[in-house]
């Protein structure tokens, strides 16, 4: 077949372009993995980026190794990105993870380096005693991982897949100091009853903007951040844990469960209008913009509020209090590792990655990071380092408790391994703020769900 010169020239160009296009496509697919001249790190917290950048500059000055920090938000996008990068062998060297959660899931799937042999006693002694085990696989976590369908399948007892970067707890109430004062509330409520009274007082002065909010669109928040701390203080550790146990006679349908639900239901009249449709970020924004006078979050919420215009000097914080006649009247909250640092298995710079982790664990570096990120570092801070984190974080550090009577939201060992707080929280949301069910119906429903989780154990 004869073809015109123009056709032949076009064909030659096409054939010549094909390998170049293939190379381009291959290059696009390995943007983060190949040809790295620096350590790369991903985080899911935008508020950590500046603080990590500052720490990275100090690390480069000390070691010569550069660190590139990239934030991928929100959490869901981060997880999807890690999922995709793992499939294409394109993970960064270091990733920030939810401690005792994502780290164990990723680790069990073989994405993360086991740090147990490297992170020794001298390293861990720099941290608060309560968080030293966080990131390592306990006997209970290993047992849970054996259940079919477990998120952490593949882990082995004693492995460590992360070291703590930030610590804290859920169940911290943020309140607008000035608006509380104008309603006559000048001290943080010490009991659940005082808390409800404070809600009522502020709500009276401004029914539209004086309410309380939380990200109910993710229904586990109201359950885990507000109801559970109150219930723990009310019932004490053993009876609280029995609510989630395999014996339905001690569950949410029992007298204890009903007392908890009834007490918790007292918050219903004071929800900010529209709370039921708010995501966590939306709820935080509402508080920062003055649309609500109270917000329930965690120690990690402060950075987001400050970044969105809330004045830290006008914020009063206090832990969710237990009722006056509670089993643990002066209940405190035990901190646990919220986020950790992990090294990926595919990293080509493991030594530098470990040096970066070790650098961030130094008390002075951690204190600087904490102040810059407005997040609580995991270290045992004393003297100048403690002052360096600033007054608000020091207050939070002071509110942390230890021992049996401190509520540890990070302890989930008493629940069935397939327990899903989102689904249980959705039932609770039907009770309050939605008011579509009563305490009795809610208790029965949650009890039957927990029973089914145990049955699948």
């Amino acid at each position: 077949m004869e073809h015109s010169p123009a056709f032949r020239q076009g064909r030659r160009r096409l054939l010549a372009a094909a390998p170049a296009m293939a190379l381009l496509a291959a290059g696009c697919g390995r943007s983060a993995g190949a040809g790295r001249d620096r350590l790369t790190m991903w985080t899911f917290k935008q508020s950590h980026v500046k603080a990590l950048d500052a720490a990275a500059a100090a690390f480069t000055a000390q070691t010569g190794t550069k660190v590139a920090i990239q934030a991928i938000t929100p959490d869901d996008a981060f997880l999807t990105k890690v999922q995709a990068a793992a499939r294409t062998n394109d993970l960064p060297d270091v990733i920030e993870v939810h401690a005792n959660g994502d780290d164990l899931s990723f680790g069990g799937a073989g994405l993360l380096e086991d740090l147990a042999g490297t992170v020794g006693r001298s390293w861990l002694d720099k941290y608060l005693p309560q968080v030293r085990k966080d990131g390592a696989v306990t006997a209970a976590q290993y047992r849970d991982s054996l259940t079919e369908g477990s998120k952490t399948m593949g882990v082995k007892e004693g492995q460590r897949f992360s070291v703590p970067l930030t610590v804290g707890t859920f169940g911290i109430v943020y309140a607008d100091r000035r608006r509380l004062a104008s309603a006559g509330v000048t001290e943080p409520p010490a009991t659940w009853e005082q808390f409800i009274d404070a809600l009522a007082a502020v709500h009276r002065t401004d029914p539209k903007r004086g309410g309380i909010t939380i990200g109910v669109q993710q229904p586990s928040t109201a359950l885990e951040w507000l109801m559970q701390p109150m219930a723990f203080g009310m019932l004490g550790k053993e009876r609280f844990q029995a609510l989630f146990g395999s014996d339905p006679s001690k569950g949410f349908a029992s007298a204890d469960g009903q007392r908890v639900l009834t007490e918790y239901g007292r918050v219903t009249p004071y929800w900010m209008p529209g709370t039921a449709a708010k995501s966590i970020d939306d709820a935080d924004l509402s508080f920062a913009q003055g649309k609500s006078a109270f917000l329930v979050g965690g120690t990690f919420t402060l950075a987001f509020l400050a970044a969105n215009g809330a004045d830290p000097a006008n914020i009063m914080t206090f832990p969710v209090p237990p009722p006056a006649r509670a089993a643990i009247p002066g209940m405190q909250l035990s901190p646990f590792a919220l986020t950790g640092l992990s090294v990926t298995r595919t990293s080509r710079r493991k030594d530098e990655a470990m040096a970066w982790l070790r650098f961030l664990s130094q008390p002075d570096v951690a204190a600087d990071f904490g102040r810059a990120a407005l997040d609580v570092p995991p270290n045992l801070l004393t003297g100048a380092d403690r002052k360096a984190v600033g007054p608000l974080l020091t207050t939070m550090l002071d509110s942390f408790g230890t021992g049996e009577n401190a509520y540890n939201a990070g302890d989930t060992t008493y629940r069935p391994s397939l327990y899903d707080p989102g689904k249980v929280g959705a039932v609770l949301a039907g009770y309050t703020p939605l008011k579509s069910t009563g305490a009795r119906q809610t208790g029965n429903h949650i009890s039957s769900m927990i029973k089914s989780y145990w049955a699948e154990q």
Partner: protein, 337 residues
Amino acid sequence: MAANLTAGTDAGTPGPGSAGTARATGKGRTSPAGRPRRTARLREALWGYTFMAPALALFAVMGVYTIVYGFSLSFAQWNGFWPQWHWRGLRNYTDLLGGSPTYAPIVRTAALNTLYVMIAVPVLTVLISFPLALVLNSIRRFQGVLRSVYFLPYVTTGIAVYFAWQYILEPEGAINLLLQSVGLGSLSQPQGWLGNPDTALPTLIMVMVWSAVPVSMLLYLTGLQSLDGSLLEAAQLDGAGRVRTALHIIWPLMRPMTLVITLLNLRDALQGFQMFLIMTNGGPGDSTSVLGLETYRLAFLSELSPTLGLASALGWLLFVAALVVAFLNQRATRRTQ
């Protein structure tokens, strides 16, 4: 043209019918002149396949491979990270269809909500877009401007629109303010239109209808403009009023268009979930969860639970439902022709 054909034949390219002639005489297989002709044919075929190859490869990777992969995954348990899948056989399907006390109630609620959406959206879309098209078709002035105005919802980016609606529907949003300002404050929603489980789904349905009306209206307009004018004139001469003409002459003639509009909206109602994800994430409670959203949640929002297989199984169940809808639509179309 004739010169070209001759040149082609001389160079060994068969002209029309030449291959048939060669086969009939048997000369093409044995004659020495047949060899270059065969080579040329081979080369031509090769070029043809070379140009087709990218499309075939793309379809093989993006189509066949994905379908087979997704279907296989629906029989397995996987979280996207594990090195291998764990086979569950039909358990993903049976769990979704009633076997699991955890997942079956979620699917049941989502299926019911999806059904409401599948009925309400097409019906309301037709009820609004047909009269709108009739009115637009009958007016002479500003027709182009009005068409553009009514078409605006369709050309605006979905996500931006959803966020805008969210603000409008908030407790202090425009809808509540409007109701209060015209003395209908009792109808306003103190928790916002998306914060009340009783109003959230109907509100989302209205937003869906709002974004579906423009295309439907345009389709009806196209149909109306292709109508035979003599039919309408005959109706007028017989004394039929506008309403009578619309209901008894135009509406039956628009039935094929109505079927197309219904099918398009059914498809959106069955598979679409972006609006539900952005505006309510299925809430409050589970009042706006739909099957498409639950599939997405199981796949990507399950906090690393190994539910990708369940998501895939739910996706295939949705596919079967879509097939049934398509079959019913085909039957209905046949009946109207």
